[in-house]
């Protein structure tokens, strides 16, 4: 399973792709089945064609956590939650099931989409 992430240009906020929109919460992100790679590519391409809306668009791998999907890499979990040293800062403040699932997710791995981005640069 995959999701697509970026940072919003105007404020740097972490955002996720949802059917043509960019949303703030990972819980609202559109999830793509692995056999829908072409859809992911198309969505990433659309994101990249919106340079005044978002920067650094890339797909992230997801993993099951407590019956929900969470980013596989801890880097992406920190992006989706906020800094671990300040639990009252960032998206994690809202709490709820998705935030809990992200907090307890394991199966750490490099952020593959991000690594591609760095390589390209």
């Amino acid at each position: 399973m995959k999701a697509i992430t970026a940072n919003r240009l105007i404020d740097g906020e972490v955002v996720f792709w949802k059917s043509g929109q960019w949303v703030d919460r990972f819980g609202d992100a559109q999830l793509f089945d692995d056999h829908h790679a072409a859809d992911v590519e198309a969505a990433v391409a659309t994101g990249k064609s919106q340079p005044t809306v978002v920067v650094d668009v890339y797909p992230i791998d997801l993993v099951q956590s407590g019956g929900r999907w969470a980013p596989l890499s801890y880097r992406e979990r920190i992006r989706a939650l906020g800094p671990t040293n300040e639990p009252t800062h960032g998206k994690q403040v809202e709490g709820g099931d998705v935030v809990e699932a992200l907090r307890h997710a394991s199966g750490a791995a490099r952020s593959t989409g991000r690594v591609d981005l760095i390589r390209r640069k």
């Binding site: 105007i10 920067v55 650094d56 880097r75 906020g82 671990t84 040293n85 750490a108 490099r110």
Partner: protein, 552 residues
Amino acid sequence: MYQYDLIDKEFLADRSAEFRGQVARRLSGELTEDQFKPLRLMNGLYLQLHAYMLRVAIPYGSLNPTQARRLAQIARDYDKGYGHFTTRQNIQFNWIKLKDAPEILDKLAEVDLHAIQTSGNCIRNTTSDPYAGATAEEVDDPRVWCEVIRQWSTLHPEFSFLPRKFKIAITASAKDRTAAKVHDIGLLLRQGRDGQLGFEVIVGGGQGRTPYVGPTIKQFLPTDRLLSYLEAILRVYNRHGRRDNIYKARIKILVAALGAEEFARQVEEEWSKIDAARADLPAPELARIRAAFATTPFKTLPARSETFEAAKASDAAFARFVRNNVRPHKLPGYAIVEISLKAQEQTPGDASADQLDVVADLAERYGFNDLRVTHAQNLVLPHIKLDDLPTVFAALQTANLATPNIDLVSDIIACPGLDYCALANARAIPIAQDIARQFADLDRAEQVGELKIKISGCINACGHHHVAHIGILGVDKKGEEFYQLSLGGSGAEDASIGKILGPALPADKVATAVDQLVGAYLAVRTDGERFLDTYRRVGLEPFKEAVYAQAD
């Protein structure tokens, strides 16, 4: 303190207006991200994990209360109420919005602050001794020379697009509080036999993926020739530094490749071609700058303060604070006070807006409007009367700023790490907090004595792990956070690069490992030996055994 003149003020206002235009053009799509990125970086604005980060320059780590209050206001109005002091004496705000950045730069410019030279391949903000102008150890006030370099280097047309970033540190004391030997250029002010002042010039030190303690390329550079000599060094670097490979672009690689002797020869050759009358600073201008730092209206005081002695005798907490955080001043009746930003559970180097206001008030009321930032991510009130120390201590206590741990095991340097930084491989802050918790007992921490732990979340080494007594480097091991320990580094006058202890450890084993290292040290230390001294005497083996024996 140096006061900006009309030229400086107009320059900052222009710069801010220019950036406002650049941001507007980016938001409208007139500029692409690739075009805009170098422009925002020239104004200290990075894109990090959660938001933009603005790095504000604090030239040579020196602030006045008005500036500190403005930083507090920015933390409140545009961030989440705090800022993070860095190992280069700057401050970073972690939650900045691009749309607010021009307004923030305006507000900084109003109090002579800016974000110039905090990013990009230019000569960065020059760092210096936080005790400058206060310690009896120094042969001259290093801030004078930092200010000379600031005026010379800001937007220097020849040196704004160097092969890579370029960092200079200046100290005028034998005890080095600037990590000068691991900078691109370290300038050590010395007094010659005839009483003349000169710089020992160290070039090509650095950390990152290829750490070096820099070699000395000139033993004694007369101070009046500083700018022409710097120009010669930078010219040689600008010409021959490697632009083909970002990992080999720093001057340390060039100096190591040529050898210090050959590099020095090329600098001398270049120097001989430079017209000194054009390049060096005219004496009247130096005198003008010097005068700005010589105006602290100290009083003549007795060396002994009864108020201070009585407080020390009656209040054990105050006595402990004095032992660890108070240093001798050059003048009788005064003291240098270090304010630790390493309280239990605190993020190393973070200060809240309220704390910044408290420190600004103290500097204003008791400290000649003078406040400093250290490269160890703490603050300093450089001129406090002994008579006022108990009052200052009480105010610091109320603001959770009186942690008596300077240079002790819990005074840990940590970069923001993966909690904020887009480059990090692993978190640094929670590791620092784990270790501080392990050594929360202040009696024990004092018994252990000076022990400098420094943590970086990636090989770029912003957390100075290479030059730590115990260095900790976060690595990504098959996608998990692991930590590689190294021992025996020092960023001080006895500079050295640490040696790797053994295989990297998982996050939950690091604090225990530090405890084991301390145990091994205490078992074999002789009187007066610091951790570093013991390590240098006995080597890596006993420490290796302490950490890895059980695991085998």
